[in-house]
Symmetry: C2
Subunit: 190 residues, 2 copies
């Protein structure tokens, strides 16, 4: 999505440690006009996939996942992050390591909200190491649901998460894939 | 909003301890068709207020705030919840007590994303004791912004938070106000 690449170049800031700050339009402050454009693009990419649910994880994935759900006219479900696992059978749960915060958490969703008949599109703002998406895939597997694909607003291609999911045979569509970035500039995958 | 009252009666579950569970359409699982209806209603209520920013707090407020922002064509900003306060001057910060989780946190937003010229509409999924909205009002005050109003999808009128904010002279519009509820039924404010 050309517009996403332009937005990253215009407003993104590369910080030390491989961090791309896009708080001015994608998280913390959300450009809602652009949000709708992103959602429309993602919905168009998966329009023929029979998606009946959008799945994300709190909290920065919620806005874009809700927008995609609205665009596709299907419900959106978000997993919660818990410190403890819950094994009472009322939730699906997957352990996730966050490289961003260097901490572990359990990704949890009620068994009421994911089921065998679901054809799930995973949506998130960022795709870096892919830990969050692997957690969501695990939740979908526990529910017996089908993952029809995954989409991130921004993929950091050089961190390998997106390609690890593509290697599982899952279609991954990111609106922009950053191949490399440092304080001299940002290069996108072609 | 008649539709909201019907939705609560049809899908809401009253749990012990004054908890109303609406995870099937408002949080965890979000009915995105209904989300757009809610957003349209809130946008219409404040259409003449000169709103130029929607403000909420992570994470369950994000979906409805993003939808309202999209409907009004203005940016949405969400405050983050931190365990520690940050006093380095790059954020606005307010201490908040959560009765739901019986814990304290700091509500934090970057000084980049709230400013003196802002005319802010506060949006959240639930309004109960009003602690979250009071925190957001404190953040807006620190920025010198104007709070033009607040809107919640569901207000628990019997917990008093909404009325405490109305008493400050702030316009509060909730899509449904629950006057009382127990396992025998739910009564709405007229």
């Amino acid at each position: 999505m050309k517009q996403m690449e332009e937005k990253i170049l215009a407003e993104g800031k590369v910080l030390p440690g491989g961090i791309l700050k896009v708080g001015s339009f994608l998280n913390q402050r959300i450009d809602t006009v652009f949000l709708k454009d992103m959602a429309r693009e993602i919905a168009a990419l998966f329009v023929d996939s029979g998606v009946n649910k959008v799945l994300t994880v709190e909290s920065s994935g919620i806005a874009i996942a809700a927008a995609v759900g609205m665009e596709m006219g299907v419900p959106m479900v978000f997993a919660k992050k818990h410190k403890s696992s819950n094994v009472d059978g009322t939730v699906y749960s997957a352990p996730v390591h966050s490289f961003t915060h260097n901490s572990d958490y359990n990704m949890v969703v009620s068994t009421d909200y994911l089921c065998r008949d679901d054809r799930v599109l995973l949506v998130d703002d960022f795709l870096a190491n892919g830990q969050a998406l692997h957690g969501l895939i695990a939740l979908a597997e526990q529910a017996g649901a089908t993952v029809v694909g995954a989409s991130a607003a921004i993929e950091k291609g050089f961190q390998g998460g997106g390609d690890s999911i593509r290697a599982m045979g899952i279609r991954v569509e990111s609106l922009a894939i950053i191949e490399s970035m440092d304080d001299t500039g940002i290069t996108f995958r072609r």
